[in-house]
Amino acid sequence: MVFVAKFCAALIVFYAIVALNPVNDFVIVPFTAIVARCAAAILGTLESGIQVTGTVIRSPRFALDVENGCNGIEAAILLAAAILAFPSTLRSRLIGLAVTGVAIELLNLVRLGSLFWLGEYHRPIFDFFHVAVWQSLVILAAIAMFIFWSLRFAERPVAASR
């Protein structure tokens, strides 16, 4: 129950931080624009006519707005809260935060690219993949990463510090 309490406390702290206007304006929004540009750059290697304006990726056939909730940050925050709450060393936690954060964002780029492609050429199944398939994949990936990390990096001597 200590883990759950720490997990919830970390979540509250993280969400309080990202809810601050300066954090949103100077961190979240620019980061979201970077995510949109990265996704557009990847798509641009596969087809011509891809343009990005702010957080909106466009082609003549489809447009995708990478909004605040589309940048993978919330999934990364949940994963980070779990890692910080789990008994381990500081070094192991930092490794976990870095690796899982990057992995979630890379997965999110693949997600955005595939959703854009589906939106362009297979619009009728876009919503299904968006709502059902990719959410499930992100959840499964986050759980898998956390379980792998916790089994690999949990250090029993640290248990006393709970």
Binding site: V4, S48, R61, G69, L78, A81, R111, V138, S150, L151
Partner: protein, 450 residues
């Protein structure tokens, strides 16, 4: 449908009939695309027992899947071959012809379901929706024509229908649907007319068309459909004059190029129908050869018209730049420009090389899409397009020594597509992940006896 709705539809139909009291009797020529029941730009994908009357083709893509179980009757599959490429060219011409036809009635925002329309040109500045039955009354005119110009998408609800009545004994080739982006026919739709879509066409399960499904750039997706074409479109075929561009020349150097024609019935004759050839060059009316030795530098824009043995004609606009003697070859890049979208900022730069900088850029022929401008100093084409369509423009670069080069471009402008959102996890997903992480943490700690 209640009495008020019936009355409203009857009133609308009456008004539309009065407005469109001048029957449109011209014909639309699809050129070689008329031989295709299904034509796509990227892929043709079929599921189930689909029957296509006429050719099935794709170009510039090459993937045609699902035949069998789908079958092609009275045609063949053309996967990015010369036939499919020519059909796509002809489709573009037909698409633009319809797009340039003035509207008779603006139906923007009006659901087509329940309406009875007389021959005319019906326009939607954005999307068009059909829920229910649309009746096209040809008023007994065998040459009646119904054109639908749709700015973005065409969507039909399940079980909808389009029917032509009083058709003079022939329902064929009377309705054409020019769709600015994609068309989707709902399950069980019974559709009449040729669909000419700029992007993709989707025929969902059990929908049938008495007309062609022709997609310019995107995919055609089929699922247990009947695609019927009922003969060729009347009137002249589209005659294409080739090549698309003629090379530039140099003062004092021999010039020898041949223009040819296709799509009609040989033999053809050729003539300069507008503008003039570079001074010193002549066109052979029988062979299409342009020969001679240019005597003056400059930019020369002219049209060559080919006439086949039946008197049908085709025309292409050319621009030849004659450089002064001793000029190097100046090339412009890129070779093609990416498409644009209405109401979306566009910025692409054309750069010249091979001559002596700095260069100045100008439009030698054609025109940029409305809303876009060319920066003469940088070659930047920028702005916000305001009109859909395909626009041909030739950009000319002049170096500091007065030597010139040019390249012809086609810029496609698609209808505006509102952006869709793509949250990584919605509220439910976040809660599920939070619970699973908590459970996983407790589980692992228990397993490790922490």
């Amino acid at each position: 449908m209640n009495r008020k709705s019936s009355l409203a539809f009857a009133c609308i139909a009456t008004v539309l009939a009065l407005i469109a009291s001048n029957p449109v009797a011209a014909q639309i020529s699809l050129g070689t695309a008329q031989n295709f029941g299904v034509l796509a730009g990227s892929t043709v994908t079929n599921t189930g027992a689909t029957t296509v009357n006429g050719n099935v083709g794709v170009s510039p893509g090459s993937a045609v899947t699902g035949f069998p179980p789908g079958i092609v009757v009275g045609g063949a599959i053309h996967s990015n071959d010369a036939v499919a490429m020519q059909a796509q060219n002809d489709l573009t011409t037909a698409y633009n012809n319809i797009a340039s036809t003035p509207c008779t009635v603006d139906l923007t925002g009006q659901n087509l379901g329940g309406l009875t329309l007389t021959p005319g040109v019906y326009c939607f500045s954005t999307s068009a929706q059909l829920t229910g039955a649309l009746t096209l009354d040809a008023l007994g005119n065998p040459n009646a024509l119904f054109l639908f110009k749709i700015g973005s998408t065409l969507t039909t609800a399940s079980g909808s229908s389009v029917t032509i009545i009083n058709n003079g004994g022939n329902s064929c080739n009377k309705a054409f649907w020019q769709v600015g982006s994609s068309a989707t026919l709902g399950t069980g739709t019974s559709f009449t007319g040729d669909i000419l879509a700029l992007a993709s066409i989707t025929l969902t399960t059990g929908s049938n068309t008495n007309g062609r499904a022709l997609a310019s750039t995107g995919a055609v997706t089929l699922d247990t459909n009947n695609v019927n074409t009922c003969g060729v479109v009347v009137a002249c075929p589209i005659i294409t004059v080739n090549p698309a561009t003629l090379p530039n020349g140099t003062v004092g150097s021999a010039y020898n190029q041949i223009v040819t024609a296709s799509g009609g019935t040989s033999p053809y004759t050729f003539a300069v129908s507008s503008g003039s050839l570079p001074v010193g060059l002549v066109l052979n009316g029988a062979t299409g050869a342009i020969t001679g030795s240019p005597t003056s530098p400059g930019t020369f824009t002219f049209s060559i018209t080919a006439t086949d043995t039946n008197g049908c004609t085709g025309t292409r606009l050319y621009t030849i730049i004659i450089a002064g003697a001793g000029c190097p070859a100046i090339t412009l890049s890129p070779t093609t420009l990416p498409p644009a979208m209405v109401s979306t900022p566009y910025a692409q730069t054309v750069t010249a090389s091979g001559g002596t900088a700095p260069y100045t850029y100008s439009i030698a022929a054609g025109a940029l899409p409305p809303g876009l401008t060319l920066n003469p100093a940088t070659g930047l084409i920028s702005g916000v397009p305001v009109q859909t369509g395909l626009f041909n423009v030739t950009i000319r670069a002049t170096d500091s020594g007065g030597c010139i080069g040019s390249r012809a471009y086609t810029i496609g402008v698609a209808a505006f597509v509102p952006p869709a959102g793509g949250p990584t996890l919605d509220a439910v997903g976040l809660v599920v992940l939070m619970i699973l992480l908590a459970v996983a943490g407790v589980f692992v700690m228990g397993k490790l006896s922490l």
